[in-house]
């Protein structure tokens, strides 16, 4: 009834948007930034990418523009939190609301038009899916094996100490936020350009929030993010298949399943961690705190 291989291929596709968004947020959070604006940056990328792909007829230009648009709108958050030292939670929520509204307004002309076709990559799998999978080891390597990655972790772990050692906390965080924005933008554009193939208002449907949960779920590691994205993607695909197979379970329950599964695993993992820093798998020490240097 359900073919495992085809389910896996669908899983890859279903998990790609949150994989991108969560990898971007992972970098931001490792730098000490809790950006709740992921949803807003995703929807911005979804619209900008779709518009660019539609206008040029080239989906890859669409993804490039989506990355730039995501990074651009994240600048707003950077100005609020890094220049004016506004509260990160409030600024992130504002970014989400702003992005959703902005995309709804500028998206009107693009309703009802179709995205240009996208060529498949190796094994019939979308190029962007491949890119997402490639980003996992790249980000792991960046964080754990490069000097820049070490500085980024240091800034997120203890910004006072990083500053005392002469590292530029604000610059590091600005770069991390912009990278998070670009990744969220690509994730959003994957939904509009590669999955749904058209623009609809609010089409990211909470994927940004799931991405945020997955970063916690991952214990702030790149491969953990991949596992989380696959869990969510897998349950999504499975419940769609079960719906199609007309299993005798209310549709509402099945639709809930991916979110429910994510929450349950999140709670279990958090309970196990209970702020255990000895294992090294816990939140960065300065996460969510703004830094102000006295000169």
């Amino acid at each position: 009834m359900i073919d495992p291989l085809s389910v896996f291929l669908l899983l890859l596709s279903a998990s790609t948007p949150i994989l991108f968004a969560a990898l971007g947020e992972l970098i931001a959070e490792r730098a000490g930034i809790l950006n709740l604006g992921v949803e807003g940056m995703m929807i911005t990328g979804a619209l900008a990418g779709f518009a660019a792909a539609y206008a040029t007829g080239n989906p890859f230009i669409g993804f490039l523009v989506a990355a730039l648009a995501g990074a651009a709108i994240s600048l707003l958050y950077t100005v609020l939190t890094q220049v004016f030292l506004a509260n990160q939670v409030a600024s992130g929520l504002a970014l989400t609301l702003f992005g959703l509204g902005l995309a709804a307004m500028f998206g009107k002309p693009f309703e009802g038009v179709k995205a240009p076709p996208m060529p498949d990559g190796p094994f019939g799998i979308n190029w962007i899916v491949w890119l997402g999978l490639l980003m996992v080891p790249v980000i792991w390597w960046f964080l754990n094996r490069t000097r820049r990655g070490l500085i980024l972790r240091a800034v997120g772990e203890n910004h006072e100490a990083a500053h005392a050692l002469g590292y530029d906390v604000r610059l590091t965080r600005t770069a991390a936020i912009a990278f998070g924005g670009a990744m969220a933008g690509i994730g959003g554009a994957f939904i509009s350009i590669a999955t749904v193939l058209q623009w609809t208002e609010g089409m990211t449907a909470g994927a940004g929030w799931i991405a945020l949960a997955i970063v916690v779920f991952s214990s702030w590691t790149a491969f953990g993010v991949l596992a989380g994205a696959w869990l969510f993607g897998g349950v999504t695909v499975l419940q769609l298949r079960l719906q199609a197979a007309e299993v005798d379970v209310p549709v509402q329950l099945l639709s809930m399943a991916p979110y429910l599964a994510t929450i349950i695993v999140l709670v279990l993992i958090s309970a196990r961690q209970t702020y255990s820093r000895k294992a090294g798998g816990a939140a960065p020490g300065s996460l969510g705190n703004n830094f102000h240097a006295l000169r």
């Binding site: 990083a162 002469g166 000895k278 020490g285």
Partner: protein, 506 residues
């Protein structure tokens, strides 16, 4: 001027809005010298060394290092010029490994494997063994400081700055640190040493520069002066003697029996069968290196953590099942270590902060309503009686300096006329005159017949105040012994010695 000067400052000045942090500061540090920088909190020591390390830029004056002008734009430039610094509050990253932490403090760290090998080698050469793969969070305070020191040593500094390095060490660990510093000095490194432990400076430093209100008020050979004379130079007046007289041990007030509690979290310490007895008029000192159960013991006494019944009794009544408010009513009051956040709410006014612990005992709350007039007048009486320097009780706790807030926090409890008062680190980060005031008020309270428990890492403070001394080590409390005649060495051994440190072998 001496030609062996490694570092020289001439007419350094720095202002912040409303504060002149440094004013016309000049001094020099010679090669092979351990040079002490003395001063009370707020005297401008930290600002001064931050300028040398490139964290803050001076407004006026000149600095030179090895004869060349020294104007570091940031700490990296300072490190490249040969300045290394060990910070007062460790500048370490808990979740990162020893090797990663050290790499962050170096300009061009070698590849990981090579760096690990060098850390192992240098740390063994200096007798400060370290495992480069350990995470900082798993290390003791003494081990953490080794990381800071090794980080500096790997850069072969010309000038090593140490900002209050011994405040978290046991006496043995401190001795070892000085042995290492003397060996470094013998190799020609200049060492700038900041501390307010006068005895330490008198034994180990060759020269001292004394700062007061941002200015150099004196420089001297600390070995030629008594601690008392040095203190007088720091505060600019005579220090009053502490009056310990007129106390008599009465009946047993507080009894803790076989108190065991699991660790509250992964970083916490479990309490293991803690027992103690406190008599009226008595001051019991509890010493120990931070993280050996001080926080947990205080939480068990305040009622923040509840313990098995019968473990904590006050004048025969079992307090173990009671929450903090009920314990306060019974007469057990506490002043925790963390002033901003635990002892006081930073953004509440002083009046509101008095309500938080004195509400029930002083009748400041009637039928669930706050009696504002009574609360304000109680806050005013604390401010008056404890010489808290503030415009009035409407000021927020955050706006007070450390010393003033500590006087307020202690005064708030003392004026409630407790049967037993438990204080944790009563003079941590408080300047000398405020510290003396707080200590005297604890002695006065005991004279009036209350029992006082002082938990502190400052051994001099414990020796000065307490009649009985216990050591807290890994959640176990030692048998009490009379403070009279106890030496720092004996105390050090009670605290668990040097935690496996060995003397530097160069």
């Amino acid at each position: 001027m001496n030609s062996t000067a490694v570092f020289r400052a001439e007419g350094i000045g720095k202002s912040y809005p409303g504060v002149r942090a440094n004013d016309d500061v000049s001094f020099q540090v010679d090669a092979g010298q351990i040079h002490a920088l003395l001063g009370e909190n707020g005297a401008g020591k930290s600002t001064l060394v931050k300028m040398i390390y490139g964290l803050v830029r001076p407004d006026q004056g000149r600095m030179s290092l090895m004869g060349a002008p020294h104007q570091p734009a940031d700490p990296r430039a300072a490190r490249a010029a040969g300045v290394a610094m060990v910070f007062q509050h460790f500048s370490l990253f808990d979740a990162l490994t020893v090797a990663e932490n050290i790499a962050l403090g170096m300009e061009n760290p070698p590849p990981r494997r090579e760096l690990s090998a060098r850390i192992t080698k240098v740390s063994h050469d200096f007798g400060l063994p370290l495992n480069p793969a350990r995470r900082i969070v798993t290390l003791s305070a003494g081990e953490r400081q080794r990381v800071e020191i090794i980080r500096c040593l790997l850069q072969n500094p010309r000038l090593l700055i140490m900002d209050e390095p011994t405040s978290v060490l046991t006496p043995q660990e401190a001795e070892l640190l000085f042995a290492t510093l003397r060996k470094l000095a013998a190799q020609g490194t200049a060492i700038l040493y900041i501390s307010h432990k006068l005895d330490e400076i008198r034994t180990h430093c060759d020269c001292a520069t004394i700062l007061r209100h941002g200015r150099v008020v004196d420089s001297c050979d600390p070995r030629a002066h008594s601690a008392r004379e040095l203190a007088a130079m720091m505060v600019g007046g005579e220090m009053r003697d502490i009056d310990r007289s007129g106390r008599q041990a009465g009946e047993v007030l507080l009894k803790v029996q076989d108190l065991s509690l699991p660790a509250p979290n992964a970083e916490g310490t479990a309490l293991k069968s803690v027992s103690l007895e406190l008599r009226a008029g008595q001051i019991l000192g509890i010493g120990g290196v931070a993280g050996n159960g001080q926080e947990e013991l205080l939480a068990a006494l305040t009622g923040e953590t509840r313990s098995a019944s019968g473990t904590i009794t006050l004048e025969g009544a079992d307090l173990s099942p009671l929450p903090p408010e009920q314990r306060r009513k019974a007469g057990l009051l506490t002043a925790p270590e963390d002033r901003l956040g635990h002892a006081a709410v930073p953004d509440f006014s002083l009046t509101e902060n008095t309500l938080l612990t004195a509400g029930a005992r002083k009748g400041l709350v009637r039928n669930g309503l706050i009696d504002h007039r009574a609360a304000r007048s109680f806050a005013e009486s604390v401010i008056a009686a404890f010489d808290v320097r503030t415009p009035g009780p409407h000021v927020t706790a955050r706006a007070l300096s450390g010393g003033n807030l500590q006087k307020f926090v202690i005064g708030r409890e003392v004026l409630q006329d407790p049967r037993v008062l438990v204080v944790n680190q009563p003079t941590w980060g408080v300047d000398a005159s405020a510290a003396a005031f707080v200590r005297q008020s604890l002695l006065d309270l005991a004279r009036q017949g209350a029992g006082v428990i002082v938990i502190s890492q400052d051994l001099d403070e414990l020796l000065e105040l307490s009649d009985q001394f216990c050591a807290l080590n890994e959640g176990r409390l030692s048998e009490p012994c009379p403070t009279e005649g106890l030496t720092l060495d004996q105390i050090g051994l009670m605290l668990g010695g040097a935690h496996g440190m060995q003397e530097a072998a160069l």
